[in-house]
């Protein structure tokens, strides 16, 4: 787990923490079942206020990335989770939307874009 806070960022600190944790959950660096440090421990380690980290965890919990379990702390939920799937879907849509808009701008046709996606699908090993 890695948290880097920037005071120059336009994002408030709690949002920076939330986004960075989200990123690490989505890209698998924090697999499901990982127990996150306690809110107070994290606040101490990052050097921010307790309310700030509480808010980051609350947001993540609402969005379905983590759950607080009695006596265990906050645990990363499975990416099979329905809400998480939606999050993924949103990211995919975002990416595709950019692709479609860019394609239209250079007058690329729909089949051409489909073909490009098919090629990329094959080339990507993941």
């Amino acid at each position: 787990m890695k948290i880097l806070i920037s005071n120059q960022s336009e994002l408030p600190i709690y949002a920076q923490i939330r986004e960075q944790l989200k990123e690490q959950i989505l890209n698998g660096q924090l697999p499901s079942g990982t127990v996150l440090p306690s809110i107070r421990k994290l606040a101490k380690e990052v050097g921010v206020s307790v309310i700030t980290t509480t808010r980051a965890y609350n947001d993540l919990e609402e969005e379905g990335f983590i759950a607080s379990m009695q006596g265990k702390g906050s645990v990363v939920l499975s990416t099979e989770n329905k809400i998480l799937k939606e999050q993924y879907l949103m990211r995919i849509e975002d990416g595709l939307l950019t692709a479609v808009e860019t394609a239209k701008r250079i007058h690329m046709t729909e089949p051409e874009l489909h073909a490009l996606i098919t090629d990329l699908w094959k080339e990507t090993l993941l």
Binding site: E10, P12, I13, Y14, R40, K41, A43, K44, G47, V48, S49, V50, I51, T52, R55
Partner: protein
């Protein structure tokens, strides 16, 4: 549950009145008490510590008020004050002796560890200590016993960055278990701003604002621009305008940014900037209305 509860504190001196000050600080959190010199910070702290008696109102720590049990009440407080807080003619050994004989929860070993770690001279009078050494000794005295509330009265003013970082770590360790709270007063927020959960502004003896720090920072934007671009309705929304020859600067409620387009520069304010513009706005007088 709140650890420090301050309710309707009032106190008058010849030329100063503290009016109806109320706030509460929950267990495990940090509150920054911010205001100009003479705004009433020290008066409030004297009332909390039982040094002064309020004309009205009350103040409790963990449900106990000073009059109920002065000794127990004071045992719960760890205090870090300014340069003159420690008796100047004493040595570290005298302070150790006093702590040992007065406080039931004094941990001698821990105290000695800190004295050693910070290399504080054992047989030198405190009057000859540097500012940093005095602060270290105050922290050693306060942290080497079981307290519930740490009160810092302008304690970190003028410390070097290394020392400040060290103190931040100590403070965060102190609240980590969720049972201890910290109340600090300052006129220079940058010092401890990053670990504060709540910020209370005091001006002319009244509480102007009291909010979680993150909410406070989000509730305003700082706007700069040319005064000529302002319509009367826009001008009304601005809080505490400071005008220069080439631009103006003011606070704006985050929900009121309508009409402020690309001609204006908008950014996140710092706590200091919020304070400056709130006071500029008329401070306590305005808050009354």
């Amino acid at each position: 549950m709140s650890l420090l509860e301050v309710k309707n504190l009032s106190k008058s001196y010849n030329n100063f009145t503290l009016q109806d000050v109320s706030f509460s600080l929950p267990k495990g959190y940090v509150m920054g008490y911010v205001g100009q010199n003479g705004a009433g910070k020290t008066t409030t702290i004297n009332l909390i510590t039982g040094l002064s008696q309020a004309a009205h109102g009350m103040c409790t720590i963990d449900g106990i008020c000073y009059q109920d049990n002065p000794r127990k009440y004071k045992e719960m407080i760890g205090f870090i004050g300014d340069e003159s807080y420690l008796p100047q003619e004493c040595k570290v050994s005298d302070i150790r002796f006093i702590l040992k004989s007065m406080y039931t929860s004094f941990q001698l070993e821990y105290f000695n560890q800190m004295i050693q770690k910070w290399e504080l001279p054992e047989n030198q009078k405190i009057v000859s200590f540097s500012r940093g050494m005095k602060v270290k000794l105050m922290f050693a005295s306060a942290l080497a016993r079981n307290t519930r509330l740490l009160i810092l009265d302008e304690a970190t003013n003028g410390l070097d960055p290394v020392m400040r970082a060290e103190i931040l770590e100590l403070l965060q360790n102190y609240i980590e278990d969720g049972e201890h709270s910290i109340f600090f007063s300052t006129h220079m927020l940058n010092d401890l701003e990053q670990i504060a959960d709540y910020i209370a502004f005091i001006d002319h003896g009244q509480i102007l604002l009291n909010k979680p720090k993150d909410d406070l920072l989000e509730s305003y934007v700082l706007v700069r621009g040319d005064s000529l671009d302002l319509t009367p309705t826009m001008k009304q929304k601005l809080i505490g305008i400071t005008s220069g020859e080439f631009n103006f600067e003011a606070l704006l409620d985050s929900d009121e940014t309508m009409g402020f387009d690309s001609r204006f520069v908008m950014e996140k304010p710092t706590i200091d900037q919020i304070m400056i513009h709130q006071i500029k706005n008329g401070g306590a007088a305005h808050a009354c209305n």
